[in-house]
């Protein structure tokens, strides 16, 4: 494709006004391959090799965009607010020069030249930035905890495990703008006094790994990593660590032991990683999207950052929008936007003329929300109130063909598979819950199964050691809360309105 464009540019002799470049993902995955023409942000969709010549001829040479294949979806970008993803699709992620040419590493230079480490921590604290990996813990507060810890050396672990199925925001960020992550880590390193960082990335993301490897090598070449960074005393080194297909390894105490090369089993807290992390040294664990916000805040100031989103939940959040909708893809929206705006204005509504049924927010331990809750604003606290979580930003839309009981069963299955097996409520509790689901979905359910499900869910969430067990019952509780009639239909009428359950030949495993 790249070559087709290059050839066409040569053919029409417009090399001097038109540069063909490779970029990271723009986020409109459903209409790929996509081609962006600047200036003007013209986005072409489903481009074929034949289109290449036409686009160059008409658009570049004659100045007439080829309307027929333009991405004609105003809403998709209009309601978005691209801060973290500002460079996605605009720069070549394999060239550090591209990142620098749009202001990259200026924030680092500003820190090193004009700010004290405490000044950087204050800037982040004042911005109100909260962790983007799930729990929403204030980022500045965490930096200040690690900065104040006495023990040395200190470490940073950037979390790119992105284990939630149905989520690819961190992957896209790494593939489209890897230096934003690296710069964020450098700034954090300066602020908390760490000289060594690891990016823990899942091995299912080969392109992201390659892109990051290249970016790290280029940063080293330009003296942005290593000793005497930008001719100062500041030192920072960065290594990649690879996951190996364990969801629980994204949990903060588990990721530490995994980086140390052991089984990724969580441990009780305290001690918190901020005091006793990698090799028992103070460690900052931060999601890569949280880190990628840091350069923006340092460069533009905390007050600027607070102008996005809500007062108690500032900035933007990336979401992977998937399922039965017209425009799946990666989006970035201001905190406080409603689910309805995401599903209908950005997502373009339900595909194939079907009816909306539910939206899953927050991955396998999120919640299944019904139509009326589409008005709910997206922020950590509102989502919690309705039984979901922000998680790592997965939004999956279901239509009438999905059975809510089976959906809850699917997530329970996932959590059983991924349970590390260390604590009993999660390991054994979820297994009992699955037996109940197996009964209900094969016509053997009884009415008091609903009570048992509710009680078991409560025990599992209260008694589990880590977030996996604590949040695993969320899909069960929300489906029971909002779609109870479907459970009753399965149990009493032995009927599945979506036609998913009661298929005996579904002898799994």
């Amino acid at each position: 494709m790249l070559k087709a464009f290059e050839d066409a540019v040569k053919e029409f002799g417009v090399e001097n006004i038109c540069k063909v470049a490779r970029t990271g993902c723009i986020g409109t995955c459903s209409v790929g391959p996509a081609v962006l023409v600047d200036p003007g942000d013209y986005l072409y969709q489903c481009v074929t090799l034949e289109n290449a010549r036409e686009i160059v001829q008409k658009h570049i040479v004659l100045g007439e965009p080829v309307k027929r294949i333009l991405y004609n979806n105003e809403g998709y970008f209009q309601k978005q607010q691209r801060l973290v993803l500002r460079n996605a699709g605009k720069i070549d992620p394999t060239r550090i020069q591209d990142y620098i040419s749009v202001g990259g590493y200026f924030a680092l230079a500003k820190c090193l030249a004009t700010m004290t480490p405490q000044g950087v921590v204050d800037e982040i604290t004042n911005s109100g930035l909260r962790g983007r990996g799930g729990a929403g813990f204030p980022v500045g507060q965490k930096w200040s905890l690690v900065a104040r810890a006495h023990n040395t050396p200190k470490y940073i672990v950037a979390n790119l495990d992105e284990g939630d199925p149905g989520v690819f925001a961190n992957r896209t960020l790494a593939e489209a703008d890897p230096h934003a992550i690296i710069e964020g880590m450098l700034i954090a390193g300066y602020a908390i006094g760490a000289q060594k960082g690891y990016i823990y990335i899942r091995s299912e993301y080969p392109l992201a790994i390659q892109t990051l490897q290249k970016a790290i090598a280029q940063a080293k070449d330009m003296n942005l990593l290593g000793d005497n960074i930008l001719e100062t005393q500041h030192k920072f080194d960065l290594e990649l660590r690879f996951g190996a297909g364990a969801f629980v390894a994204g949990e903060e105490t588990a990721i530490l032991v995994s980086v140390e090369g052991r089984r990724a089993q969580p441990r009780p807290r305290p001690p918190y990683p901020a005091n006793q992390g990698l090799w028992t040294k103070p460690t900052l664990i931060q999601n890569v999207e949280s880190l990628a916000n840091a350069p923006l805040i340092v460069l533009n100031g905390w007050a600027w950052f607070k102008s996005f989103g809500l007062p108690n939940c500032t900035g933007t959040k990336c979401f992977s929008l998937t399922g039965e909708i017209n425009n799946p893809g990666l989006i970035e929206v201001p905190m406080g936007i409603t689910l309805r705006e995401i599903v209908y204005d950005i997502g373009g509504g339900i595909s194939n003329g079907k009816k909306f049924k539910s939206v899953l927010v927050g991955g396998p331990s999120g919640g299944c929300l019904p139509e009326p809750l589409l008005e709910a604003p997206i922020d950590y606290d509102s989502l919690k109130k309705v039984g979901a979580i922000m998680g790592s930003g997965g939004i999956v839309v279901l239509n009438e063909n999905s059975c809510m009981v089976d959906t809850a069963r699917y997530f329970t299955d996932f959590c059983i598979e991924e349970s590390c097996g260390k604590c009993t409520p999660c390991r054994a509790g979820l297994a009992r819950v699955k037996e109940i689901f197996d009964r209900i979905t094969t016509g053997e359910g009884e009415l008091n199964d609903i009570d048992i499900l509710e009680k078991a869910s409560e025990y599992i969430s209260n008694a589990s050691l880590c977030g996996l067990g604590q949040t695993a019952p969320n899909p069960i509780l929300t489906t029971l809360r909002y779609f109870r009639e479907e459970y009753l239909e399965h149990i009493v009428d032995k009927k599945c309105r979506a036609g998913v359950c009661f298929k005996n030949e579904k002898a799994e495993e």
Binding site: C29, E204, F242, G245, A246, R263, F414
Partner: protein, 163 residues
Amino acid sequence: MATSDNRRIRLEKVLKEHNYQESALLEILHSAQEIYGYLDRNLLMDIAGSLNLPPSHVYGVTTFYSFFKMRKPGEHIVTACLGTACYVKGVEQIIAAIEKEFNLKRGGSTADGKLSLLFTRCIGACAMAPAIIIDDQVIGKATKEIVISKIKNTLGGIKDETV
């Protein structure tokens, strides 16, 4: 024999690069799997010996992570994505169709060892769900028919670059 020696030399190089450090166990297992294709008992014993770790520890780590394969996979590998978006979009029916068509069980291989059917939790191609990977080629918006015909082509040695 010559090739297996060669592989051991490559493994030794990896071990050395990591200074025989326990903390690099995951990286070493990744490399070993890349070199040998899978991690069998003897190989794990070998790695444990080289790192001076109890075999039980190395075995424990290997089995904990689902990415590590301990059995020899088939010549060609079909990997189905079990992520949420793929589940919602009906990957289950595609899996069932593959099982039936090629007479193999999920997680297993055909009797002639030509084809394995494996799983991944999510490859993050959710906007193109359901996704099926045949060897290294990702097939987005997969249907039963497309996948089965692609697998047949792959088994028949026909190169097929269209997605």
